[in-house]
Assembly symmetry: C2
Homo-oligomer: 261 residues x 2
C-alpha cells in the first residue's frame, strides 16, 4: 500500500487529522531512560487518536549515534505495533541529484520511513530521487511557520510571492509523481487558503500548531478539502510534553473534528 492510502486509511480508522511530532529534546526526557523509551510511551498512549507520527531527525542527531539508534528503534516499533499508522520522517533533506539519492536511501531504506519532508530551493532534479519512490510520500516545504520565512518565501516574483511559485511547481510535479505533496505552516491561514484554491484535493502537512503559535481555526476553515479532509495537522511539544499525552491528542483531534462535521 502506498503512503497516501495508508494515511487516508489511518485518518478514517481513527477519525483524526492529528500528526504527532516525535521531537524529544535529549536534555528533556521527563524521566525516560532514552529517546526511544520516551517515544514508546507517547506512541502507546496516542496511537488510537492520530493518523501519523512525524519524528524530526535533528532531535536524534543532537544525541549522536545513540539518537540515531533510538530513531530507528522508534520507527521499527511503530511499524511492528501500529502497522496501519504511517511514519513521516521530518528531515528537510535535499542536495544535488547524486547526493539526494543517498538521502533517499537513508530515509526510505535505512530508516524505512513512509514519507519525508524536503526543501525545494535546489529545484526539481535535487528532489526527484525522493519522488521516484512511488510508494513513499514526499512533502515539499512551501511556506514555513517561522517569522524569517518571509525573508525569501514572500519575495515577489512577478506579482506573486515565491512560495506560490513553489506551490505551482509542486502541483505540476504531483501530476507526474502523485506521491508529492506540500507542507505549510499553520501560522499562515490566508496562505493555506491560497494554496487550497490551487490544489483542491492534495494532502497538506500543516506544521506549527501549539508551541509555534499556529492558528487552528484559520487553518481548518481555509485548508480543509470539500470532503473535510486533506490536512495532516502536526503538533509536537503540545502533545509529547503534555501532562497527559493521550488526553492532549484526543483533545486536539476532537477540536479539529468540530470543523469537519
Amino acid at each position: 500500500m502506498d503512503f497516501k492510502n495508508k494515511l487516508e486509511n489511518a485518518q478514517k480508522k481513527n477519525n483524526s487529522l492529528v500528526c504527532v511530532g516525535l521531537d524529544p529534546d535529549p536534555e528533556n526526557l521527563r524521566g525516560a531512560k532514552d529517546q526511544f523509551e520516551f517515544n514508546k510511551k507517547v506512541v502507546d498512549e496516542t496511537a488510537e487518536f492520530i493518523c501519523c507520527y512525524k519524528p524530526q531527525i535533528a532531535f536524534y542527531g543532537a544525541a549522536g549515534i545513540k539518537g540515531f539508534e533510538d530513531l530507528k528503534k522508534t520507527i521499527d516499533y511503530i511499524h511492528k505495533n501500529y502497522p496501519k499508522i504511517p511514519v513521516l520522517l521530518d528531515g528537510k533533506r535535499a542536495d544535488v541529484g547524486h547526493t539526494s539519492e543517498m538521502y533517499a536511501q537513508e530515509v526510505f531504506d535505512f530508516y524505512d520511513a513512509d514519507a519525508v519532508t524536503v526543501i525545494p530551493y535546489c529545484g526539481f532534479d535535487s528532489i526527484k530521487p525522493f519522488f521516484q519512490r512511488s510508494d513513499r510520500g514526499v512533502f515539499v516545504i512551501c511556506r514555513t511557520s517561522n517569522q524569517g520565512a518571509s525573508d525569501f518565501q514572500d519575495l515577489l516574483v512577478g506579482n506573486e510571492p515565491l512560495y506560490l511559485k513553489v506551490a505551482q511547481k509542486i502541483i505540476d510535479w504531483n501530476k507526474r509523481y502523485p506521491n508529492v505533496f506540500l507542507e505549510i505552516g499553520a501560522t499562515w491561514p490566508e496562505e493555506i487558503g491560497s494554496l487550497r484554491k490551487l490544489a483542491f484535493s492534495m494532502p497538506f502537512l500543516i506544521a506549527g500548531i501549539g508551541a509555534q503559535g499556529g492558528d487552528l481555526e484559520g487553518t481548518l476553515n481555509n485548508g480543509l478539502t470539500k470532503d473535510k479532509k486533506g490536512l495532516i495537522i502536526s503538533s509536537s511539544r503540545g502533545i509529547i510534553y503534555a501532562q497527559n499525552p493521550k488526553e492532549a491528542a484526543q483533545k486536539l483531534r476532537d477540536e479539529i473534528n468540530k470543523y469537519r462535521n
Copy 2:
C-alpha cells in the same frame, strides 16, 4: 582558533585551495572494508595538498548507523592526525529555529565539524543557531551546480535573480556574523563573478568541479579575490575515486595555482 583562520592557515601552509569531498558510496569502496578505512587512505594520501575536507553526510546516512559511526571516526581521525586541516560537514541543514539548534548540536557538538553547509529557504531565524557558533564556519548555499537550480534560484525578483537576493542577505549576515560565507556551483562562472563583485573578500565554497562538469578556468578568473585567495574548490569523485588520489589532489592544486601566480 576560528574556522576562517584555520582555513586560511591551511591554504597558506599547503599552498592550496583544494577541498576534498569525502563522499564514499557505500556500494563502491574499492576494496576498503568500510567508509572509514576508505577515507583514512584518501586523507593520508592527500593531506599535504589540500586545505579542507568536506564529507557529505548523506553518503554515510545511506549506510545507516555504521555509516554515522564511520563519519564520526573520519572526523576524529582528521582532527587527531591533521589538526591544522578543517573539516566542513556538508549537511545542507536548516529548519525552523528550535530544530536548527538541534542540527547545530549534531554538526558542531556531536560530529565536531569546523564548518557546515545550510539552505537559506526558511530565512534568517532558521539558520541563526548555526551563525551563533562564532568559532565555526557556515556556508549558505546560493547558486547550486545542478541544472534544476534554475527552477527557483533564477526567478527574477524585481530585476535580479533570487540567488542574488540570497547573496545580498548572506553579505548582510556576514557583517553581524563574520563566520557566515556562501556556496556556489562551479558550473556558473558568470554568477561567481557577480557574487565576487558584491563580496570582494568573502570565502566562497565552490562545488561541482570534476564529475559535475564545473568550469575551473571560469571559476578562478571570476572568483579569486585580489590577493588570489577566497575560494575553497571542492572535488570529490575526481580525487577519491582517482587511480591515485595523491596525484589527483596535487594535480588539481597545481592547475589551480597556475591562475594564482
